[in-house]
Structures are given as structure tokens and as C-alpha cells.
Symmetry: C2
Subunit: 442 residues, 2 copies
């Protein structure tokens, strides 16, 4: 992408309304724009990151055997009356009447709708296990939306729903998502710690929140330091291996970890002092096993091998992509701006033309831009006529992992400078060497 | 994808509520499910097609230089009061009040919001031209939603918005989208004919609908037969070439073509009888140039090279992906089911195991499934224990382009049967030859 043809409205001033660093940086880099209280547009730079986050979530959901569909945002009130949550949900549910005066709502979550889909088609245990997910907008009418997309009203959620014949199957389904979540967050450069959690309005009795540690987190969390060193399940993880996944679950729940709602002071104090970690955290995922709560209320039953009808055991599993983006920034930035982990960076590299209009600079930039593009990299070419200093500041601010700086003096020797955004390390090398370096570090 | 682990609820009976073939086939193949009047879930098979359609739209929008962002679904009423459309839009606009009693709406389109984004950031002609698009859900509270996702209330729309300093620039922006649309529909196997159209509530004086001919279309259309043979702009089209794009526009508007609203009987009758085409059509895209309608009302101005402020010239450009899917089916099916054009098929091939549990069949299916997957193909493996006849019927119904049939008798000779869904042609060959055939025809 040539910056001269892109839409990346960098703000020069720090926006006053932003209380936390991720919100400030997302506004400054032109990633998002607030349209109404708690309702945001994702501008092109932000959209790119969001797409990369969604792609990782999708890959790991698919790897675990979950199947993607897409449910609508608007739901009929009837479904929620069936489960009993229509009245119970309270003011966070955005209630709507259509032109025929039918009561509708903007889905805050989809347990009811997916249960309705399930009961319409699935009649036999032979079609189980099943895990269906979608990545779709939700709306929760928070009284105090804040921190940008960290706590917005219209937000994106990946929500998966598992269906099993019995509790044993449901636990395996839970463990699949548990392992998939560890992999998902790790791929984004985050260490997420699963913590026993309250089930809230979803219900059920087994639930974990995945929390990343960050000073600006809204929750107070308590855990054992061992979590910082636990291994992440590998790419080769066999999601059909019941015992193998149980072992991952057991390992990752073998130490104390709890949010403040579930905190047990005595248990925490039993940990040796040097191993105690008390910090603030951001919830980036939440998984639930709630048994037959919805299947019984809504009649989602299958014929079992015993020839009898059984209400299915269900779980639901959420990740908030529009919250993950700021969470990643909270975990990875410095005083100059964002430092994107490679896997979610909006661009793989930025090529900075220090003197647009200079024939040698333009030619070298053209070569870099087109050769790197051909090699499959997403490259931003800063071909604007801004001052070099402003270009450097922008490149640091938007946090693209690699900067390739093309200036008139060095290009006279056929050389460019390659800067690592994270370490700040700079190296001078030929254009060809710069391309090879990116390919080698892919 | 192994069918035994997938969720593809095939209906055995023709659903009564479906009046047109695409709606019937989308329900029967388990692509969609109605959740409320005019509100649909896209089940996994449908979601796959929708993703492929969106990917083509996105590629062609990007190729033309448009830049993707993502605006929210809910908008504040204030924006629409500024443009004067809040009262004018009528009952199709879904009006909502949030918990603070603020008037909101579910966006039926985004002219106001994108104009608001533009005016917040862009102040100089040097940042033009600009074309911003998103693919986002819209809601229009149609009094009579029908024909499945062909005319639904909650639907997906790709809407692009162009901003230019003057009319000349805006016309080039219009021609870019015109050419991009021709390419987009062609890649989906559709011949879309641009027809002069009424501008409706969007406003403006230059507008084309892109119409595909189909007996079940809602519009009556009239055009010259030459449109069926016109060349589609190639991949190498230079979208910066003002004269070149103008030539494409001129060519594709050189013959009579109009929807009934714009029909001129006399002009149509002036065409020699053998060249007249009077048919029914489905609108799959609609583009508008509306000048300064929104920029003047909402103060979207830039400094021109003359140092003065100018309201920008705008256009908007819509494609409905959730309508395109049924439109493609209307254009491509037979009595046995859907016939997907390769580019939008949910899977590239289906491997049919005629005798799941037979060691030789299972082994050959496993090889085909894994080797084709490694070669980059999306393969559906029918590993269920349904009867062979039911499997053949399902494969024809869901319309995957290539069927590879693995039966116990032929696999004893190391052979499988490869069937082309469209032509019905069958060939017997080795497993290896079948894989090579797919690779060769990629």
C-alpha cells in the first residue's frame, strides 16, 4: 500500500478523552474513530489488525474441529422468552421493535439462537460431538462504555457453542477450546492465564476466564508465577486425544489462579511468597460449561444409543477480537508507539522514502515495494512528501515490525537501512540483502 | 472437511415456503436458515460461499484502489438529521432508542457516516482522490421480505464511497467502480449488464444498476443483445488510466439498456428486432454519482489548489453479497441441484466414499483427502455411512464442481471415478491421476 493513496489519519496531539495507552495509540494512529458512545469505526489500519486477529482465531477454532457459521445480529424476543433470559438480562440488552411492532433485540450473545438451530436439525447422538462458532457483532448497552474498543457497546465476538451427549463428552469439548485458546493468544504474542471464574448471566458451574496481565486491566487477579513458564500446546496437538487434552487442562489448572470475584485469600497465601503474582488483568476470553441449562429449557434433545431422548450438554466459548487489539497494544508498546507482534501487524514492513521525488530513492523504494509484495509481504510504502523526521515518528508510532529506510546518501552506495522496531537495532545493507533478510525471518 | 464432523443439514423435502429455485436450494442444502422474517443464519456451507464471494469483491475493490475500513451497524440519529434523511427515509429505517433514550438507527446505508469520517480528517485536495469501502451488515425493514436472502431485512452490503475535488475526478472514480464491478461479477460466472437507473433515496443524477438476467428477477429489463458479448476488463486494467477507463465505460454504455423505471419504449424499438432483449433481471450492484448532496449538507470541504474551500464530489457504490449468492444459483443450477462456478464453490471437490469402513476405500479416500488438502484444495470427504445413492444425490445437490467417487470394485484396480458436476462427464482413472487432474485444471 502506498501511503499517498491510503487513509491513515495520524493525530498529532494526544487525544484528551483517552485514559489508557491502547486507546490513545489507537486514536493517534488512526486505527479507530468513535461514532457514538461506545460505538467505533475501524479505520483501515485498525481493520487490518482486526482481520489478522480474526484469522488467527479462525484458524485455531478450525484446527480444534469447530465449524464456522454466521448468525444474524438481530434476534426475536421469543427465543429469549423460551430460555427465560429476556426479562432477566436487564438494561444491557438493546431491545428493538420493528415496523410490525414485533419485539426484537440486538444479540448480546447467542446461546438461545444456536440452541434453536441445533434443535431444528440434530436428532441423533450420531451427529455429535458438534461445536459451532461465528465471529459476529454483538451489542451490550453498557452504562459506562470506556477505554475505546476495550469496553465498547457494539463489539465483535467469536462465540462457539458445543453440543455433547453427556458430561464426559462436554468436558472434552471444554478442553478442546481450552487448548485452542492457549494457542490462539500465544500466537498473538500474549500470555493468557486461565482463571476460575464466575459464570454470570450465562450460567453453569465450570468456567474459566483467560486473562492477560496488564497494569491497565479492569480486574484484579491472583495467580502462581509458574503460569508464566508453562508450555503452550503445539501445532501438532491432537484434538481427538481425550487424555492428551485433559493433561493440558490439568497442567494449566494445577496452580492457583483466580479473579477477585473467585479469590480465596487463604489458598493464595499458601503459595510461597516469591511465587505469588498479584496484578491487574484484561479478560480476553471466557469459556463456560453449563450442562443442560438451555437444552432443557428449549428442548434440544437427541436420541441416545439407548434409544431414549437426552437433553444435550452444552458449553459456550467467547473471545473478543475488538478487545484483543487494544489488549495486545497494552502488552506491547513503548514511549514512541505501538510494537506489533509479527503475527498481527497491519503491515510486515514499512519502506520509508526519505526523499520522495529523488530518482534513486524512488527507484529503490519501487523495487523494495514490488519485490517484497511479490514475495508475499504486506508492505506500506511511505511515498509522501512529509519531512523525514515526521516519517520516522509515524513509522515508530504505527509499530510495523520492520522499517526499511531509503535515503539519498546511502542509496548512492546502493544501500538502505533496516531498523527493527522492537529492539531499535539498525543495519545498513543492499536492497537485495534487505529483501533476503525479510524472507529469511519470515 | 470430513462430512461426519461437519454441519450440513440437508433437507429431504422441498421447503414449501420457497417460491424461487435459489431459495429452495439454499434451504435444502442447509446453506441458510430463517431466524425471523427476513433475517437469516448462514449455516457452514452457505458461509463458505459467502466468504468466497466477499473475497472476490474485496480483491477487485482493492485492485481499483479502494481502501477497506469497517463502520459499525448502529448509527446516531443526529447524523441523519444533518443530511435531512432521518425523516425522509421512512419506515424501512429501523429506529432504536438506547438505555439513555438516545435515538439511534440500524444503518440501511452509510453516506452520512462516511461523510462524517471524511470531514473529520481530510482537509486538503492533496489527500484526494479517496475511495473508502466496507463490507458490513445493513438493515432495511422491508414490509415484504421474500425469496430468502435475495430480499432480506438484515443483509450484507459492500458499500464504497468516493471523494473527489471536482466532477471530472468523480467521473473517473465512477468509471473505476464501473470497471471493478464488471470484473467482480464476471469472476463469479455472472454476466451483469449496467443499466441506467433511478437514483431513489440516495440522490444524484448519474446511476447504473448492474443486472443479471434471470427468469425469477424482480425487475423487468430491456437491453441490446450486444451486451452478452462485450469483453470484460482484464486483470491488467490500469485504474489510473483516465482515458482507458472512460473507454470501458463508453463501450458498456454504447447500447440501449434500462430497467422498467427508466425504460424508453421508442429508443428500445429503434433497435432491430433480432437484437432486442426483453427479460427479467436481478440487481446485484448499484452505483451512484451524487455530487455535493452530502458534502454540502454536512460540510465536507477541502482546500483546493486555488486556496479556497470546496465541497467534495461524492459517489457511492453498492454490491449485495447476501443477494449475490442466490443470484449465482438462479443463474447456475439444474434439476439435481446447484452448479457452483469454481470461483465461489464452497468446496473444490467432494470425495465420496461409497463404502465407509471398507479398508481399501477408506485408505484411498484418506490419500485423496490429505493430498488434495496439501495441494491447497478445499475438499469435502463424504465419510458417512449413508447409502451410495443418497451420497450421489447430496453431491449433485450441493453442486461442488468435481466429484471423486471411490467404490470397492474400482479401487481394487486402484481406480476412482471423477465426475464433472456441470457436464455430468465421468472418467475412470487412478487416484494419482485424479489428483493431477485437479491440479492441472486449477
Amino acid at each position: 500500500m502506498r501511503l499517498s493513496r491510503y487513509f491513515m489519519p495520524i493525530l498529532k496531539e494526544n487525544p484528551k478523552e483517552a485514559e489508557i495507552v491502547s486507546h490513545r495509540l489507537m486514536l493517534r494512529t488512526g486505527m479507530i474513530r468513535q461514532q457514538s458512545a461506545g460505538i467505533y469505526s475501524w479505520l483501515p489500519l485498525g481493520k487490518r489488525v482486526l482481520d489478522k486477529v480474526n484469522a488467527i482465531i479462525r484458524e485455531e477454532q478450525n484446527r480444534s474441529g469447530a465449524v464456522e457459521l454466521l448468525m444474524p445480529t438481530l434476534q426475536s424476543a421469543e427465543l429469549w422468552q423460551e430460555s427465560g433470559r429476556y426479562d432477566a438480562y436487564g438494561k444491557e440488552m438493546l431491545r428493538i421493535k420493528d415496523r410490525q411492532d414485533r419485539p426484537m433485540l440486538y444479540g448480546p450473545t447467542n446461546e438461545e439462537m444456536i440452541t434453536d438451530i441445533f434443535r431444528s436439525y440434530v436428532k441423533s447422538y450420531r451427529n455429535l460431538p458438534l461445536n459451532l462458532y461465528h465471529i459476529q457483532l454483538k451489542f451490550r448497552d453498557e452504562i459506562r462504555p470506556r477505554f475505546g474498543t476495550m469496553r465498547s457497546r457494539e463489539f465483535l465476538m467469536k462465540d462457539a457453542y458445543s453440543f455433547d451427549l453427556d458430561r464426559e463428552g462436554a468436558e472434552h469439548a471444554y478442553n478442546k477450546m481450552f487448548a485452542a485458546y492457549l494457542r490462539t493468544f500465544d500466537r498473538m504474542g500474549l500470555r493468557a492465564i486461565p482463571m476460575r471464574a464466575d459464570t454470570g448471566p450465562i450460567g453453569g458451574n465450570l468456567s474459566h476466564e483467560f486473562i492477560i496481565l496488564a497494569d491497565t486491566g479492569e480486574s484484579e487477579v491472583f495467580c502462581h508465577k509458574d503460569f508464566l513458564g508453562f508450555d503452550i500446546p503445539g501445532k501438532e496437538t491432537n484434538f481427538d486425544d481425550v487424555a492428551g487434552l485433559k493433561a493440558i487442562f490439568d497442567k494449566w489448572t494445577s496452580r492457583y489462579a483466580a479473579t477477585s470475584e473467585m479469590h480465596d485469600e487463604a489458598a493464595f497465601n499458601a503459595i510461597s511468597e516469591g511465587d505469588r503474582l498479584s496484578a491487574r488483568g484484561i479478560e480476553v476470553g471466557h469459556i463456560f460449561y453449563f450442562g443442560m441449562k438451555y437444552s432443557e429449557a428449549m428442548g434440544a434433545k437427541v436420541l441416545g444409543p439407548d434409544g431414549k431422548e437426552h437433553a444435550v450438554h452444552m458449553g459456550s466459548y467467547g473471545i473478543g477480537p475488538t478487545r484483543l487489539v487494544p489488549a495486545i497494544i497494552e502488552a506491547s508498546h513503548d514511549e514512541n508507539g505501538i510494537i506489533w507482534p509479527k503475527a498481527v501487524a497491519p503491515f510486515d514492513a514499512v519502506v520509508i522514502n526519505m526523499k520522495a521525488g529523488d530518482a534513486a530513492c524512488d527507484a529503490a523504494c519501487g523495487t523494495l515495494y514490488s519485490d517484497l509484495g511479490t514475495a508475499g509481504f504486506d508492505v506500506l510504502l511511505d511515498d509522501t512528501d512529509d519531512r523525514a523526521g515526521a516519517k520516522f515518528a509515524t513509522a515508530d508510532l504505527i509499530g510495523v515490525p520492520v522499517q526499511i529506510i531509503v535515503g539519498p546518501r546511502s542509496i548512492a552506495n546502493g544501500e538502505v537501512e533496516v531498523k527493527d522496531r522492537k529492539t531499535g537495532a539498525r543495519e545498513t545493507m543492499t536492497v537485495e540483502a534487505a529483501i533476503n533478510k525479510l524472507v529469511a525471518n519470515r
